[in-house]
Symmetry: C2
């Protein structure tokens, strides 16, 4: 029997306990031993709940109990999660977590402690919920140099953009609806400003580069400025708008970005709708692969956490996770990266055509019959720096959206 | 340094050597040691080739060399691959293979030898080429009872059906084109009759059930009878036709089948076109997930083989692969499985409507203006046995295609 403790009895924590109970037989078989939840750490009590007798309020009980071999951290937030996880690892206990904020900030250090102790720090659920992308990078795509990883990593914003696309609704409307349905928080900042996706792509970037990618260094733009009108232009061009989190290799550099992006129908992420997440990976020999699934939700996330627990139970004295060094990776500055830009100008195409074309070069003008006082222009590929310099001459610019090719 | 031997220097074998050389640095780092190709076994010589000096013609050299720790088998076919692989495993050498025929037939036994010797028999490339589905089932989806696995597992037939859908071409035309492009063999039987997909779903079914699923027990229908006219009906219904290989759990039974199937736009496999493969998996807690990528091709397949070699180099004395027992799993007979059937009748709807409806029950008639002497009828869900009994009364039936919901 392998004794574990679960820290945090919220949505994911209760899901972990539920999955361990529901699928007990197959889990025991795959782990090679029975997994027993000995403690559940939470500030609250849960009278009447099946774990009622296991609830403890004092972390010291967990860290000091030599019977506890694996600790599940699903409290969220950097503190006290960081202190608790670090102490568990130092005490020789493996840790499985769904906490992207913790992993993005302290992943390198925690992985290194786990490796020194010959135990494990696993975090499959921190990116893409039930999509097994971390394990794919760690143990499946080991023959490849990963040239690109681009994902729809936030279900809330994808739900909102999907609604805007299919129903022609505007941002405020869909945000309210997402909040009413419980898909978005009352304070939706972490989702809609792209902060959540940013931490996730920071983790993936660190894994594929083997170095620390600080999330603060990643250019991050949310969806708060994406409007119904932008979506009308996208449709007109046979495209859609998704919040993409992306990391691409340029020679020995990585460029990472979180930003709304125009996607054509042939892009593998074009059809990823609603709260689903998907990750596109390009390897230099594997070619293109895509992983798709539930990015969040109680049970899918719990499934990923429990899979980590199973792996840790199978490897109680053996470190299996790829490290990333704490040495910081310098990202390619956004100014030096190239793409097409879709620019909306106020005014008429007739008035501005010559100035726009002579400044931004050849491109494709897009007009929408209902929008008489503005037009759009899709440039050819240029660097972000070049775009920004040129855009300075145009107070007429209403909005710009990057295109993903 | 870990010395390996490659058995078979055809497309995949030369790809393996190429990938090991091209990505030497990352592979060494991930394997924790340098992987060195010491021998390449082939009947031919390759003068001028980089491996010229490593070519051997005698298998005994490999099996008797204690320096060889890992053997790559990419010869294909059951013999002599089976004899060679078994002897390598018995000699304590781990084996990585892309050989679906070998794995479908002898997987249980070879896994069991590997486990006894505390070495590994891995076969990621045998199903879905570069799509890491085997490793996902073995180490990622370990918290779930897998309720369904349905895939587009054969790139040749998917290419052909995609052409038929988009270009309205007929079967013979697209087969010839696929042969001219090298996507289909001169003798295309293994692909177009579904035999290739059948072996792959047998492997996946064995893995998710933990027991031996014999490919001979799986109902297998290829695409040779799918015509341009079938595709016209599919389009009319907003659907497409794909060759699906599927395994679904019904209580404690599995039902496995390979058959052309009508899919609606909302099905995750609807958009998988051309030579791409994809696998859809439903777990009882994970929910729905999908994996998409290159199902074949020299480098994607080699990437999967080399990833297995890396895993074996990391686990030289530790068995990591889930076993499936040699005990045979009885599949649910196809007669007892339920689905909708799309039936094409010769004659006019007017003449036959009453007989068809009174026999097959309520359904949806489909007419195509160009096809005046026939019509289609989509039934509601019924068992295959019920369909077959009812169909006996109708010599007017031209063709039937199962629908996937």
């Amino acid at each position: 029997m392998v004794n574990i403790a679960v820290m945090g009895y919220g949505t994911v924590g209760s899901g972990v306990v539920e999955v361990l109970s529901l699928n007990k037989n197959v889990i025991t078989q795959r782990a090679g031993d029975e997994i027993n939840v000995k403690y559940v750490l939470d500030l609250r009590d849960f009278p009447g709940d099946p774990v009622q007798e296991k609830i403890i309020h004092d972390f010291e009980i967990i860290v000091n109990d030599p019977e506890i071999r694996i600790v599940v951290e699903v409290m969220g937030g950097v503190e006290p999660a960081y202190t608790f996880v670090k102490r568990c690892l130092e005490a020789g206990k493996s840790v499985a977590t769904s906490n992207k904020a913790l992993v993005a900030k302290h992943g390198a250090e925690l992985l290194s402690i786990a490796r020194e102790r010959n135990i494990n720090f696993l975090f499959e659920a921190s990116v893409g919920g039930g999509i097994p992308i971390i394990r794919a990078l760690n143990s499946s795509m080991t023959a490849d140099v990963i040239e690109e990883i681009t994902g729809i990593l936030n279900g809330t914003t994808n739900y909102m953009l999907t609604k805007m696309f299919y129903e022609g609704a505007d941002y405020d409307e869909v945000l309210k609806e997402a909040q009413d349905k419980g898909y978005a928080e009352r304070n939706p900042e972490a989702d809609v400003e792209g902060y959540d996706a940013c931490r996730k792509i920071a983790i993936l970037s660190s894994l594929i580069s083997g170095q620390q990618v600080d999330f603060e260094d990643i250019y991050t733009e949310g969806i708060t400025k994406v409007s119904r009108k932008d979506m009308m232009y996208a449709k007109e061009m046979g495209m859609t708008i998704k919040l993409l989190a992306s990391s691409k290799r340029h020679n020995n550099h990585l460029h990472a970005i979180v930003s709304p992006a125009l996607l054509g129908k042939e892009h593998p992420l074009y059809n990823v709708d609603d709260v689903f997440n998907a990750v596109f990976v390009r390897g230099n020999v594997l070619g293109d692969a895509m992983f798709y699934g539930s990015g969040a939700g109680k049970l899918p996330t719990a499934s990923a956490v429990v899979a980590d627990v199973v792996d840790e139970a199978k490897h109680l004295h053996r470190n299996i996770m790829t490290m990333w060094k704490s040495e910081k990776l310098e990202l390619l500055p956004i100014e030096d990266t190239s793409r097409r830009f879709f620019i909306r100008f106020s005014g008429t195409l007739q008035e501005l055509k010559e100035r726009v074309e002579s400044c931004f070069g050849p491109g494709k003008a897009v007009q929408i019959p209902e929008l008489t006082d503005e037009f759009g222009y899709m440039t050819e590929s240029m660097t972000e720096g070049e775009y920004r310099r040129k855009a300075e001459a145009f107070p007429e610019i209403i909005h710009v959206i990057r295109a993903e090719d």
